[in-house]
Symmetry: C2
Subunit: 348 residues, 2 copies
């Protein structure tokens, strides 16, 4: 037996002490730091020692306490992601890819929901910064100046996603919502649409697409005398019933409408459903364009024309950015516009 038994230390009453590096070290007949090296930088340890340490780890069932390691090395290997909500399945693909890409590199995702209101953002930010994550991924750009300020101050790498801004906090992986609005409008115009209407969730990004659409419509002479496009707004997150109701209302006031751009595929599914229920035929009676290319879009009847965003790429790119930064590598091109694709199917 090497030396002194472990001294009785401060210890929470009920809980049994868990196994530490020292326990493993004693069993392997080496020092604690050698165990640490064997696990983190095995190249620095002789083959024989390595084997002994691994055996000891196996026998004890030791799992390193990453909180303690993180505290000392100021690397938490934790990345925070903030989404407005999980309920609209829009960000799912991004979160899924992010989680997977981070896990591959030994990082773990912490999830926070900000809601669509700014108010909770502040408390959430405290909770996040308090864990000293190695990075923060925001869906959408950060709005309140206060929050921006704190994010800037704490020095944690930040990736804003799903949007573009001339003034990013740090890194950015996004695309132009205004351009989407414009391109969809131009597309509908080419298809012969002259009386478009909009059904839109009222979150910041959908409003930008709306703006782009209306502007293009005015330019193309699709707005009539009012210089605007009839719009039905639904509270975010937009869901199917909003689409059904939107179509009903818009049809009542604008029976001649010949195209609908929805701010989400879910709304578009609602429109398709309502049309079907009314015996209307899409695209013969009017065109429908969705947004998001959610997984059901291609399989609907008619297959939905929509705007595809590569959510997986957003997630993966964000993960790469954060990890590069965390490991001291510079990110060459920290602001990326990943664009979008108008996917032509049969609904328009």
């Amino acid at each position: 037996m090497p030396d002194t038994p472990p001294p009785a230390k401060t210890r929470a009453p009920g809980r049994r002490a868990s196994i530490t590096v020292h326990d493993v070290a004693r069993l392997a007949g080496v020092s604690a730091i050698t165990v640490s090296r064997a696990l983190n930088t095995p190249a620095q340890v002789s083959a024989e020692t390595l084997q002994r340490v691994r055996d000891a780890v196996q026998r004890t069932g030791y799992v390193p306490n990453l909180l303690a390691g993180g505290l000392r090395s100021s690397k938490s290997r934790l990345v925070a992601a903030v989404v407005p909500t999980l309920a609209g399945p829009v960000f799912l693909e991004t979160i899924e890819a992010l989680t997977a890409a981070l896990a591959e590199r030994g990082y773990q995702l912490m999830l926070g929901q900000s809601g669509y209101a700014d108010s909770r953002e502040d408390a959430l930010l405290d909770a996040i910064i308090g864990r000293r994550p190695d990075g923060i991924v925001l869906t959408g750009v950060m709005h309140t100046p206060d929050a921006r300020q704190r994010l800037l101050a704490c020095g944690i790498p930040v990736v804003e996603t799903w949007d573009l801004t001339p003034t990013p906090i740090d890194m950015l992986v996004g695309f132009s919502h205004k351009r989407i609005g414009e391109e969809v409008c131009e597309y509908l115009h080419r298809k012969g649409c002259r009386r478009p209407v909009l059904i839109s969730g009222d979150d910041a990004r959908a409003r930008r697409r709306h703006e782009g659409f209306v502007r293009a419509a005015a330019r193309l002479g699709m707005t009539g005398a009012t210089a605007t496009v009839p719009t039905w707004w639904v509270p975010a997150p937009a869901k199917l019933p909003g689409g059904r109701e939107g179509l009903t209302r818009l049809l009542a006031e604008h029976p001649g409408l010949d195209g609908v751009f929805c701010s989400s595929d879910l709304l578009a599914l609602g429109v398709l459903t309502e049309a079907q229920a009314r015996g209307l035929s899409v695209p013969r009676d009017f065109a429908v364009v969705g947004m998001g290319d959610l997984d059901f879009a291609a399989s609907l009847h008619p297959a939905l024309t929509t705007v595809r965003i590569d959510g997986t790429r957003i997630g993966r790119t964000s993960a790469a950015f954060i990890v590069d930064r965390a490991e001291g590598r510079a990110v060459a091109e920290p602001v990326v516009d990943i664009g979008f694709a108008l996917v032509e199917r049969h609904s328009a």
Copy 2:
């Protein structure tokens, strides 16, 4: 000025030191521990001191390092959740409720994806246990004996969800998938269905519903000579196209089918879509029952008859269980069957 300037300590080269309790304490003219108490247990601190500390916190922009606190107090205020995947929107409601309920109480969610294969579960478990979370929420019950063993050994409170088992690791919030299969079958039988078919994702829980359905069908004499129910299996996570293809295939082999039970509302949407594309009428030509009552189910045309699971309640209950345990309160009834509800709409 109180006393000695802070000694130059070990410090990572590039990074600026962040503000600590000591900085705040010095500014407020108190000791570090008093700052800690002012923030965590304000009742123990005099009103005047409290004010001084709060001012100092404000002025410095101090955000406590929860990793450090967690290390000392062995309370990480972190809860891990494991889902097979985020892609099927089935667990979304649970994760959303869980995140929200935890945030309310000052806990944060860590998300892990296990995939539907058991292989990654082990690595994921290490990553999770390494962070010493105050609790682990599993969607589905834990299968591999190895994983069960480690979970049991590490002493972290565990909630298994979305399923029932006679041998839970610890706590459980679920419902009986077999009963769902049976009840749906009985329901279809009452509605006059005699030639049912199944479209099912091939994950463990869907298979249990399948089993329940087949058993009830046999009992009710709905299976013909084969004592089984024609089934189209789709790989998990089940999506809409699987429903379309499933109906196509089943219709080809069993043109007399008069009812379809789908293991997910997404599959049911596929079935409805395919039926519509073929000019078939639901429920006149055959009945369709989904599973999950996803948010679009009620608004489809025809409105989808389905099985409702209260995912929000699962999330909230799990959060409450974990927090109670973490804060030393016993959970009176740690195994809960929350049941399910067959929601009758128009598709059956």
